[in-house]
């Protein structure tokens, strides 16, 4: 009996996994309830490849000046150790996932409510905790993208947020 139950679990899981490789809408619906990420999508950089780098910038507002845009995340240099162990990659991926999700939402989400989304708040939280200019009263962040052989250009600018 137990082995039959286990077998059924694996068959159902395998069937859903196959369906989700081809039916992306089905996958999106399931993802809402798949809190653990047990339903995979194995397409890896296809059919649409990664063809750009996204960068996160921020600037501060003091009482008498606005600073230049500064890069929020450090550039990661590849080293021999990073072949085996690369903790910076985790933070970089978390930031890029938040940015990607926010950009996706900004296309079809009410602009006035975008600042209430999880991805927006996650990035704002990250930016707020960074080192700021002395006497900063507010901050703002920006996403920029650089495609192959092109200049870096801004694609998303946040609201201005008061720092307490």
């Amino acid at each position: 009996m137990l082995s039959k139950i286990v077998l059924i679990i694996f068959i159902v899981w395998a069937a859903i996994s196959i369906i989700c490789q081809f039916k992306k809408n089905f996958l999106r619906i399931l993802r809402t309830y798949d809190f653990w990420g047990l339903i995979p999508s194995w397409t890896f950089f296809a059919p649409n490849p990664v063809n750009s780098d996204n960068f996160l910038y921020y600037r501060d507002f003091t009482l008498n000046k606005t600073t230049e845009w500064k890069k929020a995340n450090k550039e990661i240099k590849a080293s021999f150790i990073s072949l085996l162990w690369n903790p910076n990659r985790r933070e970089e991926k978390a930031i890029s996932d938040s940015m990607f999700q926010l950009l996706r939402l900004s296309d079809n989400f009410d602009k006035d409510r975008l600042h209430l989304t999880i991805s927006y708040l996650a990035i704002l939280n990250f930016i707020t905790a960074l080192k700021h200019e002395e006497n900063t009263i507010a901050t703002q962040f920006l996403f920029a993208t650089r495609k192959f052989d092109e200049f870096t250009k801004p694609i998303f600018v946040s609201n201005i947020h008061r720092l307490t």
Binding site: F10, I76, L84, A94
Partner: protein
């Protein structure tokens, strides 16, 4: 390869993945804190309407910072028997794999961002193997290995066919773009693609053919399958060097013992039926 050795080898590779990913997270614990990009106070908001308040309170106690670090230390400790025990899938291995799997599920639930395909494969492999082990039934363990092998083959085949269907991949442009990015690219390889104009298309087709034909390697079996798995290892080492996708090596290697075992098991079943 015996059922027990296969199980131990799958657990071994998952254990190595576990040590690497857990120590990476622990060394950058700030990202999990209230000042980090994976702040639980923010991510828990998405469950406000989906989950009962009482359930959410319990989850908060586990997922909040710094309690989550405790869970990460437990996960790290649970990896030690996975790496050390070979050929003895007994109670300790079952217990360690179950703890690893549960902590993995909680961390995956908590950190919706920042995970990649290697984390997902490790999560699926560890959950399936834990399910097979806790059943204390050789049939269930075998089913779990079948499932793990299936996910490995599905991953390679889907990745291959998705690339084959893309014109940008077939013409080598996708790989050229990818290599040119700062996030996944590599300066030396980018320079080589500029010098040797046909290199991106050669590499692209190499990747497409290997991934798309993986199922064929499996069906033929024997030395052909071993050659396919060798290509797979080289592919992942290449990705680690040039794309910095280092954890994929371990989570995908974890499926290899299951793939070899299942192929031989199917072969034996076919022989008996003949």
């Amino acid at each position: 390869m015996s059922l027990s050795l296969t199980t131990s080898l799958v657990a071994f590779f998952v254990g190595i993945y576990g040590v690497i990913s857990t120590t990476e997270l622990l060394s950058r614990k700030k990202i999990l804190s209230n000042a980090g990009v994976l702040c639980w106070d923010i991510f828990s908001l998405q469950f406000n309407q989906l989950l009962n308040k009482r359930v959410l309170k319990i989850i908060d106690k586990v997922c909040e910072y710094p309690q989550i670090l405790f869970l990460l230390y437990i996960r790290l400790i649970s990896c030690i028997p996975l790496i050390l025990i070979i050929e003895l899938p007994g109670r300790l291995l079952t217990f360690s794999m179950s703890i690893f799997s549960v902590t993995n599920l909680i961390i995956s639930f908590r950190n919706r961002y920042g995970n990649d395909g290697s984390d997902q494969m490790a999560l699926i492999v560890s959950t399936a193997l834990a399910l097979g082990l806790i059943s204390h039934n050789p049939d269930c363990l075998k089913y779990s290995l079948y499932f793990i092998a299936f996910q490995g083959i599905l991953a390679y085949s889907t990745a291959g066919l998705a690339k084959l269907s893309s014109k940008q991949w077939r013409t080598g442009l996708a790989l050229k773009y990818l290599i040119g990015t700062q996030t996944y690219g590599h300066r030396w390889l980018e320079q080589k693609t500029n010098t040797f104009k046909h290199l991106p298309i050669i590499l692209s087709w190499g990747v497409i053919l290997f991934l798309s034909c993986f199922l064929i390697f499996f069906v033929i079996g024997g030395q052909t399958l071993l050659v396919g798995l060798l290509f797979g290892m080289l592919f992942h080492f290449g990705n680690a060097i040039f794309m910095r996708l280092h954890t994929f090596i371990w989570s995908f290697l974890a499926t290899y013992p299951a793939i070899i075992f299942i192929r031989s098991d199917i072969h034996n079943i076919l022989l008996i039926n003949h």
